[in-house]
Amino acid sequence: MSDVVVVGGGIVGAACAYYAAGAGLAVTVVDRGPAGAGTTSRGEGNILVSDKAPGPELTLALWSRQLWHQIGADLGDEPLELERKGGLVVAATESAMASLTRFARDQQEAGVDTVPVPAGALHEHEPHLAPDLAGGVLYGQDLQVQPVAAAAALLTGARARGAQVRTGVEAVGLVRDARGGVTGLVTDHGTVPAGAVVNATGTWGGVLSERLGCAVPVLPRRGFILVTEPLPRVVRHKVYSADYVDNVASSDAGLETSTVVEGTKGGTVLVGASRERVGYDDAFSPEVVRRLAAQATRIFPFLARVRVIRTYHGFRPYCPDHRPVIGPDPRVPGVFHACGHEGAGIGLAPATGRLLADLLSGAEPGVDPAPYSPGRFLEVARG
């Protein structure tokens, strides 16, 4: 008998299991595929505070990056490929620079470390940047991990704390007692008895929540990433264009692209980022890839001399109010959600896992959980 069964072995489910097991709970993780094979494997491993405006998501992000540092200290930076590299946001035009400067000033007041970089000093930080950019802001707190490796390390850590991990097991529904409380999870491989079920299925959180009888609005938002041939270190920070922030915050269903460039330990350089609401359409899109390549070359002209060796794409778990869904569902006692992180799931995973473990074990939560509560959708529905 488990205290809690976590559905989803991606980065968020892994973090939930890691902290719940650390809180002394008996944890079972189930995933219908291999661990970390969903959206966790389709991003860049961003741990960003730089792209978040003051508000509940930034509060969670600031806490979460501290927890990433702690995880690095506990499990080692190497297994996670944790890089404390910082971010550099660049503006191509004077007007973009003006809004970036205002944005950074508000962030600074909310606890984000920001350092304005005038146009003339950009090359000290990133020698390959285009010569005609208007300036930028340095964010020393941004980090990067290899997300699949990080999820694997967290699951290994959870197992060391007694958790069980079962892959190839798909959640089907709940077992509930006479009063409606959860007593187990029905899967395609039998029932897992447990007093609580955590929905950590990321982009598929909407689908699973319906199976559990307590729907939350999580939808797919597709994104492509280009992968270059292996290179020496050519980009030092996470470098992205100021319009990325607007794209992240927008709710447009149409195609939006901005430039995000970062190196990896393996030598490849990753180029993103696109956003479009096309359901689970898995088709390759030459138009998106062409746009990403052209925009990245605008910021980093040397990329024109470098080959793209492959692309990949995936589906971010998009929630209409751009906030993750974390906490107990008021409709079904024993169901907890931990999904809907859109493009920030890697960065927000530790805070999500820790908050959820606090809520499961009755400990004092590290942040106010109200802004992330699944109950907020019911309040809207009631009007």
Partner: protein, 91 residues
Amino acid sequence: MAEPTFLFDGEPTPYAEGQSVGAALTAAGIRSWRTTRVGGRPRGLFCGIGICFDCLVTVDGRPNERACLVRVANGMRVTTQEGTGHGDLEV
């Protein structure tokens, strides 16, 4: 008429019409033309049919060409590739 040659690290090297860079180098007794990125180990032909990407070489200044697939040409400049072949970009 002079025999056609290509340049390998600046040395004029003969070849037969239709040969790949990899075949011409091997025929000239040269078995490695790249060093690996991490260990600096020598590499040359492995699969010979374009699949394994082991035989990467710099051709006319373009790194990461597969020696087994590029047809050699008169005057072509083939150079040993060190690591990624993009060392000039390192910052």
